[in-house]
């Protein structure tokens, strides 16, 4: 627990939460159910950010069409995050570049960080929930 933890109004502690997304959006349920935790966390008024690494960067792809696989398309949920005050979205540069992607491929605005920078950011977190 960080000692310089902020206090929210009413005296409760505010922790730094990072939701770390490592898996492709379809193929497994991790991304979809992971997103459900992120949305719920907004009700707790914590300091929340999301990070996307490995195949997790595919979660933010524009123009996803899921009709061929019979799955519900939840891409738009990432655009709704801002309405929940979740606007700190980080993408690991190495993962993005290894997959031939650029920031222009994403459905939302993100901050691109190197692996080392993201590692430093992780070290500052109180809680990391990874899927």
């Amino acid at each position: 627990m960080s000692e310089e933890m902020e206090m929210e109004e009413g005296g409760g502690a505010v922790k730094k939460f990072m939701f770390l997304n490592r898996k492709a959006p379809y193929g497994t349920i991790y991304a979809l159910e992971g997103l459900e935790v992120v949305l719920i966390s907004a009700a707790f008024e914590q300091d929340v950010c999301m990070a996307f690494v490995d195949d997790g960067v595919y979660q933010l792809m524009k123009d996803v069409d899921t009709t061929g696989i019979g799955m519900k398309n939840f891409s738009k949920t990432y655009r709704a995050l801002e309405g929940y005050d979740i606007d700190k979205l980080y993408v690991e540069r190495e993962s993005m570049e290894a997959r031939g992607l650029t920031e222009d491929d994403f459905i939302v605005d993100v901050t691109v960080l190197s692996s080392a920078e993201l590692g430093a950011l992780m070290a500052e977190q109180d809680v990391i929930i990874s899927h």
Binding site: F17, E33, I40, A43, V127, I129, S130
Partner: protein
């Protein structure tokens, strides 16, 4: 120290539940507190009392139930993840018109807020899964 544990994988297929259990046992033996164990994704299948492993194998579900009973540990199963996968308690079975329920003793079904709250209350949240 006060730990919260997140189990993201089902029993037997994956080591996650075994490792989480061994971790919880070891932490308790050292005098630490387990604030809550939260079961998410396929982890909800750890709560099915209809689980029948071969007799010479460990009984993962009963082991969690026994740990809850001995140490008063809060075992919480995510309601949305559980319903998708057919893990129901008596109330949920009734509410959805199902003819049976299958939740094991010591487990309770609740919302994802219980996971976030555990992250806030515990000193460390430890995740077991892929």
């Amino acid at each position: 120290m006060k730990f919260a544990i997140l189990v993201n994988e089902g029993p037997y297929t994956h080591q996650a539940s075994d490792s989480a259990y061994q971790f919880a046992k070891a932490a308790l033996a050292k005098g630490h507190e387990i604030y809550r164990v939260f079961f998410y994704h396929d982890g909800v299948n750890n709560a099915s009392r209809l689980t029948v492993p071969p007799q010479d194998d460990r009984h993962i579900v009963n082991r969690w139930s026994a740990l809850a009973q001995e140490h008063g540990i809060d075992l919480v199963v995510c309601i949305a993840a559980a319903q998708r996968r057919g893990v129901l308690d008596e109330n949920e079975a009734k509410r959805h018109g199902k003819d049976a329920n299958n939740i094991a003793p010591g487990f309770r079904i609740s919302g994802l807020g219980q996971l976030v709250e555990a992250g806030i209350q515990a000193d460390r949240l430890v995740t077991f899964g892929d």
